[in-house]
Structures are given as C-alpha cells and as structure tokens.
C-alpha cells in the first residue's frame, strides 16, 4: 500500500510542482523513487515531527501541497498540537501520511502501533480522515487528496493487502464503497483489516450467513447516507477496524445510529480499550485481540445465535 502511494504520488508530482513530501527521516527503500524523480520536491526534516508538521503548514500557506510522511503514531500523536493549531486551524493544505495503521509494525511493539490515530484525528475540525483498505483504494485516495483542499490524514497499511476492488473509476472522498450485497447482517470495514473480513465472510457463508459488505475508505466525513440505509434494512451492523474502539470508526458509526429513531443493532470489532502487550506480527496480534477473520466470524455467529 505504501509503495502504491509513493508510485502514485511520484506520478502526480510530475504534473504538479506544488506537491512536496516532508519525511521525518523515514521511508528507507520506499521514498527513493520519489526523491530520485523529484529531488526538489522532497525534504527530510529529520527525526523531529513537531517541527516537521509546522514547517509543512508554513509551506502549505505559501501554496504547496505538502505530504508529511512517517510511520505508526509518529505523524499524528507526536505532533498533535501542530496538526491542530498550525495545519487544521489554518486550513493548511497538509496531507499527513501514516504508514503502518494498526499492527503493521506488530513485533516492534506498542510504541510503533497506531491504534488511537483515527479517534484523535477525527476529533479535529477541518481534518479529513482516510483509511484505504487495499491498493486500489490507496491509489484512489492519493489521487483524490492532491486536489482536495485542507488538511487530510491518510492511514496506510504497509503492503501485501489483498485486492478488494477491480477498479474505482468514480471514487469520491466521503463515500463508502459497496463490496457485496447480502441480507440481515452488514459489515462495515475501514482500512487494511478488510482482508480479515474476506476470511470471516467465507466462514459466515458456510454457516448460511450472507452479509452485505461495505468498505469505508473515508472515516471523516462519514457516509451517513449508507449507514442510514443499511440501518433501516439490516438487523445487525458490524464495524471492523484495526484500532481502539474508543472514538474510532465504530464510534463514528454509533454516533450516526444513536440519532436515528430505530436502527439495526451495532457490533463493534476492534481493540477493546487496551494497549497491545503481546509480541507478534500483524496477523498474530489481530487474532489475539479478536480481529482475525476467524475471530470476527465467531463473534458475529455468537451474536446471531
């Protein structure tokens, strides 16, 4: 996903000299194609995320479209006030790129996990929050944000995610994307965790359950129309995110549902207000914390019994 992002951005930077990447000394072997193609459009600001983010705001106010680049929670939590005061409040054209949403850097430990970023970023006014689920979504999101005004946060997986969509010719920020149409149960997924949904769906189908499935590459602004439609036509909505449940994607969906007079029941899948204390890779940690395909399917089956 990160390679797709870099490839797409390198191509976009060909046509748009205002595109600028500011990295926090990260992107070894990843950003190289970009800096070789566009040496005047990349700055390594060193290991200093606070400065990096305000520098990006200053550059954006001078007309640049600035992509800040780092991993895990470094480009968000480490410099949250700079995002709030300098980027979002000024409507600065800064696109914050996080490589490694959720447990991508699994074995590196909690310091490198991004598990509160969606909640924190979506609480900031003027910040658009995007979590692409596959390479096709990642490319579409990258193309869309270059022309989208203001501050955006993009949470990427690392790579090797399964393809969900053949193509997304009409991709639009703020729209959920239907993947399959079923009945009774609907699964809403954001970000790279979608690959677990595929696995879960296989198990559910063997038990005679045929869920409706949507991906939400945009968490903010949220596609409330799809949520309302599904809430009226299905019995259970399952949200799935590789993120803490407090304030995340499931919470955003809950906010919409809670204001409806009657609606489908909500089942949120994600980290249950915990830090990860186990050691293991992304797949392992997802399973341990209830977000693997198997665990998601089990959870849903328990609910429908």
């Amino acid at each position: 996903m990160r390679d797709t992002f870099v490839r797409t951005l390198t191509e976009l930077a060909d046509k748009n000299p205002a595109v600028e990447v500011v990295t926090g000394d990260l992107g070894f072997g990843v950003l190289k194609p970009f800096w070789e193609a566009h040496p005047d459009q990349l700055i390594n600001a060193g290991i200093a995320e606070q400065n990096l983010t305000s520098v990006a705001a200053g550059m954006a106010l001078e007309g640049k479209t600035v992509f800040t680049y780092s991993i895990g929670n470094f480009p968000t939590l480490r410099c949250l006030e700079q995002i709030r005061n300098d980027c979002a409040y000024h409507d600065a054209n800064v696109k914050i790129i996080c490589v490694g949403g959720g447990f991508v850097y699994g074995s590196l430990g909690m310091s490198h996990h991004a598990t509160e970023d969606i909640a924190v970023m979506r609480s900031l006014p003027n910040v658009t929050v995007l979590c692409p689920g596959d390479l096709v979504e990642a490319e579409a999101v990258t193309r869309a944000i270059v022309d989208y005004p203001g501050t955006c946060y993009v949470r990427l997986g690392r790579g090797g995610e399964k393809r969900i969509h053949e193509s997304l010719p009409n991709y639009e920020i703020g729209k959920a994307i239907p993947v399959s149409k079923g009945e009774k149960i609907a699964i809403f997924s954001t970000g790279a965790i979608f690959e677990e949904i595929e696995e879960a769906t296989e198990i559910l189908k063997n038990s005679g359950i045929n869920p409706t499935i949507y991906t939400f590459p945009t968490v903010k602004p949220l596609d409330t129309q799809v949520i309302k439609e599904i809430a009226a036509t299905h019995e259970i909505i399952v949200t799935c995110e590789e993120h803490n449940l407090a304030g995340g994607f499931g919470s955003a969906v809950a906010e919409v549902l809670a204001e409806l007079p009657c609606h489908a029941r909500l089942l949120r899948i994600g980290m249950n207000d915990k830090y990860c204390t186990l050691v293991g890779d992304q797949k392992y940690l997802r399973h341990q914390y209830g977000m693997s395909g198997k665990k998601i399917a089990e959870r849903i089956l328990t609910e429908v019994k």
Binding site: G58, L61, N85
Partner: protein
C-alpha cells in the same frame, strides 16, 4: 510614523487594551514594543490594501500572548481601524488575546509556544524553492525557548540554509512564574544559538537605533539570523519593569492605570496623539502605602524545595 512614535502607540494601546479587557501579558507587550515598532515602521514590506501580497515580508509573532502589540501595530499601519483595538478580548471581537490569522495583516495564528519558528521556517523554505526574495520574520520569547520544538526548528533552519529567515528573541529574562534563569535556564542564550550555527546579533532591544542597525545588517550568507533583543519586561512603566506580577496582572482602575498613562506621557515623542487621554491624566492617583508594588512576586521567592542541595540555588 517613526518607529519611536509607533512603539509609543503600541505601549499606549497596550495599556488601554489590557485595562479595558482585564487582559494579561502587559509586561511582554511592553518589552517587545520597540522591536515591533521598528519592524512595522521601517523594515517590513507590506501592503495594507493587499494583506496577502505575494512579495510581502512574512511575519509571525510566535510569542502570541503579546498579541495586543501586533494588533496595535497593524491598526496603526492601516490594516484596520484603531477603534477596533478596544474590542480586544470582548465577546464578538476579532482580536483574541493571542494572535489570530482571522485579523487582516496576520500571517499565522499563535498562542501555544514553540510553533512560530517552525512555521516561519516552512515559509522561508517555500520561498527559497520558488525563488522569492521576501524575508520571513518571527519573534520568539526567551521563555518560549524552553520548548523543544524551537530547537528542532533551529536545527532545521540552519541545515536548509534559510538565510531569508530572521528570528528575534525578545529576551526580557522573565517568563510566566519567574526569571528564566530561575525556571529552565537557557543562558547563555546567544551562545546556544551560535552553537546551533545561526548568525547571532545581540542588541539592546529597547534601543531603536540598535534594532534598526541589526535589521539592516542581516547577511545572506547561507545561515539564518537570530537577533537576541535584550529587553526589559514591562519596559516604560516603572512599577511594571522586571516584576513578574505584570505577566498576568492588568492595569486596574486607579493608581495603576493613572501612573501607567502618566509615565507614558512623560516619554511621549513629538507629533504623536494619545487617542484615549489626549492631555494625560490630571491629578493621577498615587499607590496607597500598602500597595503591592516593587515587591518580589517570583515563584522562587517562596518556593524552597527541601531535596535541592543547599549550595545550589533554584
């Protein structure tokens, strides 16, 4: 308007604005008034008809708590009516206590310390990349230099050769609760900046000739420049000078306001009008015998931790 006249106006507006609003930071407004007076009267290139003019010099007051000084300078320069200054802090006003970019002439909102140098560095970098000739000015507080992000930015500006960036540190030696050296010392301030690789100019920041000369002598030698402006917190009003009380306290009705205005009138340059008390104050009130004036209000006057070595002094 001369820089001396503008600086006086900034001080007079500052007293009135904090007096009317009960607003804080008069001490900082007073210390930085001369630097801002020189900048807006003589140095900065701006266009009041077109506040976003591309060739304007950029200016950020990173110590945003002295916002009243910038609002006064902008109003006196013609960006908006000076009458609006009286709305500072009031419901429905544009003039928040800390600097807001929703005010014409303001390039960047500040208030949380340690942001402005980075933002100015970003602006300076973009100007370099795009071959633009304007300069980028930013004023920091000396207390603000406690913030780690200032030093991230200091490294960055040198590394990328931002010689179109001019940082002024309003070195009034005091911060919120105490003297800087009694809080988190950054002495020797000039030496620290020098060690980071900056051109350093150290001046008396309340002396207009020295300010003028410093701004005129900035070299484009591949390094950013910092002007360490040694100033006096509360400069111009005797009972405020070097008293930490006036970081937060505002000049109250009575002797505080009367003496502030009266002392300013004694130093009023020729050709400048006081819009509030044109003829000064007749029969100004005097402080009562028990007035809390010329006292030590610093934290360290009463903060005596027992674990700290007796030979050492906080």
């Amino acid at each position: 308007m001369t820089s001396e006249q503008l600086a006086w106006k900034i001080r007079r507006h500052g007293v009135e604005m904090t007096h009317l609003s009960g607003g804080s930071h008069i001490g900082a407004i007073m210390s930085v008034a001369d630097v801002i007076g020189v900048l807006y009267a003589e140095i900065l290139n701006f266009d009041v008809e077109n506040p976003k003019a591309e060739n304007r010099d950029r200016f950020i007051l990173s110590k945003g708590h002295a916002g009243a000084a910038i609002y006064a300078a902008l109003a006196e320069s013609g960006f908006f009516d000076t009458d609006e200054l009286k709305t500072h802090y009031q419901n429905g006003s544009r003039l928040s206590g800390h600097v807001s970019h929703h005010v014409p002439g303001v390039d960047f909102s500040t208030g949380s310390l340690g942001h402005g140098l980075s933002a100015a560095a970003g602006m300076a970098l973009a100007a370099k990349q795009d071959g633009k000739a304007h300069k980028n000015y930013v004023i920091l507080g000396d207390g603000e230099c406690n913030e780690g992000s200032v030093w991230e930015a200091a490294l960055f500006a040198v590394h990328f050769g931002l010689d179109n960036l001019v940082c002024i540190v309003d070195h009034n030696k005091m911060q919120s609760l105490d003297f800087c050296d009694k809080t988190l010392s950054t002495t020797p301030l000039a030496g620290i900046w020098q060690s980071f690789g900056w051109n350093v100019i150290e001046i008396d920041g309340n002396d207009h000739n020295q300010c003028r000369k410093a701004f005129q002598n900035i070299q484009a030698n591949g390094k950013p420049t910092v002007i360490i402006a040694n100033t006096i917190k509360g400069k111009g009003i005797s009972y405020m000078e070097n008293d930490i009380l006036w970081h937060y306290r505002f000049p109250h009705e009575g002797w505080e306001y009367d003496i502030a205005v009266t002392e300013l009138h004694k130093s009023k340059p020729e050709g400048v009008e006081d819009p509030y008390t044109p003829h000064g104050i007749k029969n100004p009130a005097s402080p009562p015998d028990d007035a809390d004036v010329y006292a030590d209000h610093t934290m360290s006057a009463t903060y005596k931790p027992t674990w700290f070595g007796k030979e050492q002094q906080l």
